[in-house]
Amino acid sequence: MRRKLLIIFLFLLLYSCDHGLKPPEVDTSMQYEEPGFGGTVYFRGTWPDTIYDLRVVAFRNYPPKNIINEVIEGKAKFSQSLPRRVDSAKYEVLADTGRWEYIVVALQYGANIFSDWKAIGVYDTTKSDTIPTPLYIPPGRFIRGINIVCDFRNPPPQPFKLSEIIGLLITKQTEIEK
């Protein structure tokens, strides 16, 4: 009996020499995606005459009363400029893992980048209310199929100071890229 116990003990001891968990031999970062989301923006109605810029912007919180802080801290994310006067446009936003509560298509209608913005579409999958649908991005995942409809005849509610905030955001990002 003693000998058996000793054998079991030694077996367990030796087994522990395999060092347990190890990093994957194949770099799993190949499967790892840069976190973010993307999809298609569909445009309905008549395009306005002047369009200076058009982007998809994501904010962490809704209602957007604190988004100025997010912009200042660089937490809000946005897409490249979208093509204009088309029926639909593909977009991608590289956003960090976690919850994004307010995803909006923003249009710059005037020359002043700090003030001339308005929301023309919001990601909202529930028709019963006007609250935007939040999006959760898991680690290392890029969420596809986040489609947004922009109806120029029926624009969504305009959040407080959205225009100034988006202008500030894009200016800040442009400075960083330079």
Binding site: L5, F9, L13, P23, P138
Partner: protein
């Protein structure tokens, strides 16, 4: 009505006390060296009268009712000795007692299992004791490290499981009640255990009672009770200090190296014990710093612990405890992925928590007669913390506990314990809002000794509690246990008890987004309930101790975090579960300088709601430990094996990359030391074989590390 009867009994007993009194005094010396022994416990059996020897080995017990008694002498390192004496009216009986040194472990005295002092062989439930010597030798820095080597217990990061009771609930709520010198030691907001707040080097012993203990201790004791008992102040002056320095080895795989420099942990403590007349006190101050083997995991910590005692007379004393911790720690939620196992997610870099906590309580004990004493306690536990997230999370909780316990030995066959327990909890938090809760409980236990061989214990506790704006909820928890001695060495036992756990404020009212998840409140949570049943046998011999038990626990309304339909996480009563199993513990002392112990627990943890194995529960837990103590040299090995958790929740799989990267746990620790009486030197290697494992997904457990500690007592 029961209370009235008890009062009448107590009052009648007081008035019927014999007026004839005598005294007992004497000296206890070592049988071999003939030197006096300090700190020998001298107890008159079947009474509450007792004392301990002073530095000259002398003791004195006054005002003993006349009659014939058996006096028991016990001290660590000596065989227990019993002497029969007769106390005569107005006379002093004097004894000179010689104790024989022994290398064998003597039976420990347990206070938690039945709320009274009993030796291990009289305890009707499975109980384990960790003595201070082992804590010191292992240089354990926190008590959760100590619990990792207790049979039937496993830690899932900071969450303790006794026989698979808790699983993992992200630090909210615990199904094991932690007592600190008898005072409940769970935070008022999250109901969690703050392990680092306990000064490990001032611990006298830790008692771990397995199975539902709510019939004596109320909420949270649903899976068991852990009582941390600190060292008593002594009537002598002493200064003790200890310093330690540890270093983490490099990670086994180069891919995991995230820092070019070595990572250290270091610290120490100084404590001073003094006395003035009948007043004695202990002051302990401790500093701990850990640079962390993981990125963003360091901490800086201060601990202050004071304990003082004033003896009004040999039969009444007032104790006061104050324990404080201030800590700044970085927070490592989960790894980035398995390729970056020691790095946190990018968004968690820089996150940290500042906390300040203290617990203080006063306890008064008065022995009214040789068969009656009471104990009353008033305590306060304050927990305050904040993080550096945006928006900032902060929480302040104040928990007040008051308890009175009356122990009354009606006769040699009946021993009654009655108590009243009150709590009030006030929380102000950005996560839970402004909340409060309170509870009232009464309990009664009767230990009946039918014969020298058979004893039973019956108990009942009624808890009434209220959680903030919710309705009052009542819980009645009974218990029954019996022990039958076949011989002095062998006994059989059985126990049955029920338990409950009231939802923590954090479970009912949390509203936050952290670490990538959003949690919403659920004020309609119901309490968890459990029943537990155990049969066991215990063999106690000078060469070996063997304990075997079979257990069966059934749980209802277990609270678990789940995804709600809107994608947010909510705590719900979702699980009915059954955990059955067997446990064996063997301690062998083949030679005077050698001991060997193993513990094996088999668990069959089944989730009846989902008809699948319970999440975060292992099926096999195995420990082995050996110690050699030869003259001044000390050496030891610990080995632990915990089988892989077969199931984790889907939620973590979504949040944590490589969440399925789990393995069985095989860990070996080794130590060597020298004991020159006043000077002690210990060297330890933890995780000697550099085994990489996780206790909770996405968190690599400590890699191999070395430490050296030196302790000196003046």
């Amino acid at each position: 009505m029961k209370f009235l009867l008890l009062l009448i009994l107590i009052t009648s007993h007081l008035f019927s006390q014999q007026l004839q009194m005598g005294n007992l005094s004497g000296t206890v010396i070592d049988e071999e060296t003939k030197q006096p022994i300090f700190g020998v416990n001298v107890v008159i059996e079947n009474t509450f009268l007792g004392t301990a020897t002073d530095q000259r080995g002398k003791f004195s017990i006054k005002n003993i009712p006349t009659g014939k008694y058996t006096v028991r002498f016990s001290a660590i390192g000596y065989e227990v000795k019993k002497e029969k004496v007769e106390i005569l009216p107005s006379q002093e009986t004097n004894l000179i007692v010689e104790l024989k040194p022994t290398a064998y472990t003597t039976e420990p005295i347990i206070v938690t299992a039945t709320r009274r002092e009993q030796i291990l062989s009289e305890i009707p439930v499975t109980t384990h004791v960790v003595e201070s010597e082992m804590i010191s030798n292992r240089n354990n820095l926190q008590i959760d490290d100590i619990l990792r080597y207790v049979p039937g217990v496993n830690m899932i990061q900071y969450q303790v499981n006794i026989r698979g009771s808790s699983g993992y609930s992200r630090g909210t709520g615990t199904r094991v009640l932690l007592l600190f010198d008898g005072m409940p030691f769970l935070t008022g907001d999250a109901g969690e255990i703050i392990w680092e707040a306990i000064p490990v080097w001032q611990i006298e012993k830790i008692e771990i009672v397995k199975g539902a203990g709510s019939a004596l201790y109320g909420s949270n004791a649903i899976g068991g009770v852990i009582n941390v008992i600190t060292k008593e102040t002594t009537p002598k002056q002493s200064f003790r200090f200890r310093s330690y320095l540890g270093m983490y080895d490099k990670p086994y795989y180069p891919q995991w190296r995230w820092s070019q420099k070595n990572r250290f942990y270091y610290g120490g403590f100084a404590s001073f014990n003094f006395f003035v007349g009948n007043f004695s006190a202990l002051v302990h101050i401790q500093r701990s710093i850990d640079e962390g083997y993981k990125q963003n995991q360091s901490y800086h910590r201060w601990n202050l612990f004071t304990k003082s005692k004033y003896n009004f007379s040999p039969y009444s004393s007032l104790s006061f405890v104050f324990n404080y911790i201030r800590q700044k720690n970085e927070t490592f939620f989960y790894w980035k992925n398995l390729r970056n196992a020691l790095r946190p997610r990018d968004e968690d870099l820089g996150s940290r928590v500042n906390s300040e906590r203290f617990v203080t309580f006063a306890q008064y004990k008065r022995i009214l007669s040789d068969r009656l004493f009471y104990l009353t306690r008033l305590g306060f536990f304050r927990n305050k913390w904040n993080d550096n997230l945006t928006p900032q999370n902060r929480s302040t909780a104040g928990f007040i506990n008051s308890e009175i316990q009356i122990n009354y030995q009606i006769n040699d066959k009946n021993y009654l314990i009655f108590g009243l327990d009150l709590t009030y909890n006030d929380v102000k938090s950005s996560l839970f809002g402004k909340r409060n809760s309170h509870s009232v409980a009464i309990y009664l236990q009767d230990d009946i000794k039918f014969s020298e061989r058979l004893s039973i214990s019956l108990g009942l506790r009624n808890d009434l509690y209220k959680l903030d704006s919710l309705k009052y909820t009542g819980q009645i928890n009974p218990k029954f246990s019996a022990i039958y001695k076949i011989s002095d060495a062998l006994n059989f036992r059985t126990s049955f008890g029920s338990g409950f756990r009231a939802p923590a404020i954090s479970e009912a009212f949390t509203s936050t987004a952290a670490a990538g998840v959003t949690i919403k409140p659920n004020p309609s949570l119901k309490p968890e309930r459990a029943i537990s049943f155990e049969v066991g046998t215990r063999l106690i011999h000078s060469l070996a101790m063997i304990d075997f038990s079979l257990f069966w626990n059934h749980y209802w309304n277990l609270i678990e975090p789940v995804f709600d339909i809107d994608g947010k996480i909510i705590f719900k009563n979702v699980t009915e579960a059954r955990i059955q199993g067997a446990e064996i513990g063997v301690n062998v002392f083949p030679l005077t300088f050698l001991n060997f112990s193993i513990g094996y627990t088999y668990l069959f943890p089944w989730d009846l709601s989902e008809d699948a194995i319970l999440k975060y529960r292992p099926k096999h837990i195995f420990y082995a430990n050996t110690n050699v103590n030869y003259k001044i040299l000390y050496a030891g090995f610990d080995f632990r094996f915990i089988s892989k958790y077969e199931r984790i929740d889907q939620l973590l799989k979504l949040i944590v990359p490589d969440a399925e990267a789990r393995v069985p746990i095989y860990v070996v620790d080794a130590r060597v030391g020298f004991d020159f009486r006043r000077l002690k030197i210990f060297a330890n290697v933890n995780n000697l074989l550099q085994y990489n494992y996780v206790e909770i997904v996405g968190n690599l457990a400590p890699i191999r590390n070395f430490n050296l500690s030196i302790e000196y007592e003046i």
